[in-house]
């Protein structure tokens, strides 16, 4: 965007950048892409943010294909190049999991690896200049294109709710339904009179976990993206003075957020396995 951007144009620019490409059923009964944020809202729950989902699945597939190709060629000999890099990540994940998860569960480490790399890649899309990919799609005739999946709450909540399902599943599996209920009912006050109060507190505590997990990632990435968009409103010759420092700082943020999402998932699942 250039210097002559007026106030309403800037807000339109920002809004445009924050609108997903949504596919769903229009109120008149036809199926198709929404042409504005309001139209997307009218589609209700049964609509898909094609851009978020597309980028998210695309990045996930890239991650898995890359790691799979390394894994199928992995040898015990001296690791070189890509294998070295992948092993470094795997080793890092493995030690993190071993630090906080003490039971044996073959799911946890691959889950943590998937979360870390996938979330990192989704966050990484934030570092691509904000107008780059949307502009390409604009030339191809696609109206809206939001390229950072983790700035879409559907994506982050989709993952955190999956983690929540795992928490419930392993809580019941490890402690039994009765044991799990006991844990909820008898903490923090061990007295029959306090059971309703305990249940209220503990269920709130339980439900807060996935919400805070998903919203933390979403909030951080959304705010970061917003600042990139605001910087993009500045005159072109000065943008670099803000976008470069922010991008460098953001490298830290995206890694940290991916790491936090992974560690919290491990910790929640460790808590689900261990009675306290």
């Amino acid at each position: 965007m250039s210097a002559e951007t007026t106030g309403s144009a800037s807000s339109a620019y920002i809004k445009h950048h924050l609108t997903n490409l949504t596919y769903g059923q229009h109120p008149d009964g036809t199926w198709g892409f929404a042409h504005s944020g309001a139209e997307a809202a009218e589609m209700g729950f049964w609509a898909l943010n094609v851009d978020s989902l597309g980028w998210s699945i695309g990045l996930g597939v890239i991650f898995l294909l890359l790691f799979k190709s390394v894994a199928s060629k992995a040898t015990a000999g001296v690791p070189t190049g890509m294998q070295n890099f992948v092993e470094m990540i795997v080793d890092f994940i493995d030690s993190t999991v071993k630090d906080s998860f003490h039971k044996v569960n073959p799911l946890i480490a691959p889950l943590a690896l998937t979360i870390f790399v996938w979330v990192f890649l989704m966050n990484f899309m934030d570092l691509i200049p904000v107008d780059f990919i949307p502009q390409i799609f604009h030339l191809l005739g696609v109206e809206y294109m939001k390229v950072v999946p983790s700035t879409d709450p559907n994506i982050t909540m989709g993952m955190s709710l999956s983690v929540f399902v795992l928490i419930l599943f392993y809580s019941v599996k490890e402690k039994g339904a009765g044991g799990f209920f006991n844990e909820l009912a008898r903490n923090p006050f061990e007295h029959p009179a306090f059971i309703p109060f305990n249940l209220f507190l503990e269920i709130l505590n339980l439900v807060t976990k996935p919400i805070s997990l998903g919203l933390r990632l979403f909030g951080n990435m959304y705010a970061g993206e917003m600042i990139f968009i605001l910087i993009a409103l500045l005159p072109a010759w000065i943008q670099w003075s803000l976008s470069v420092p922010w991008a460098i700082f953001h490298i830290l943020v995206i890694t940290l957020q991916a790491f936090i999402f992974m560690v919290l998932t491990i910790v929640y699942l460790a808590m689900a396995h261990e009675s306290h």
């Binding site: 924050l18 997903n20 949504t22 769903g24 944020g37 997307a40 809202a41 589609m43 209700g44 729950f45 049964w46 609509a47 898909l48 943010n49 978020s52 989902l53 998210s56 699945i57 996930g60 991650f63 898995l64 790691f67 799979k68 390394v70 894994a71 199928s72 992995a74 040898t75 015990a76 000999g77 690791p79 992948v86 092993e87 795997v90 080793d91 493995d94 073959p106 799911l107 480490a109 691959p110 889950l111 690896l113 998937t114 996938w118 879409d152 709450p153 559907n154 994506i155 909540m157 989709g158 993952m159 709710l161 999956s162």
Partner: protein, 156 residues
Amino acid sequence: MNINATLIGQAISFTIFVWFCMKYVWPPLTAAMQERQQQMSEGLQNAEKAQAELDLAKAEVENQLKEAKQQSASLIDQANKRGNQIVEEAKDIAIKEGERLKQAAQADIEQEVNSAKEALRQQVAVLAIAGAEKILASSVDQNAHSEMLNNLAAEL
């Protein structure tokens, strides 16, 4: 920013990706890494063993060197002794030979002296007879005195 079915779509893809990762990505990678770790620890153990063997071999070499030195020293000693012995023996033989030669020479000399004495005795008898003849002239009976003179010559 609407909550919609994207959430479910993401949850489904998440499940599939985690399953794929658990099945095809994680196990071969960790297996390779563990195998390498084992190989490395084996390698280190082997190195330690080799070091111990080397130390042992060094000690053995030192022992053998010491033994060899001792052996050579004793050999030199023996050789020296034997040499001295040979010299002594040679001296003894030389002395004995000298003695023998000296005795032989003395025997020769004695024989010479005896034969010279015999010859002189003969000559003295002849001279004595000739002198006595001259002194006594013809008064002396050659036959009567020759026995006496012979006895005299034998006494000389």
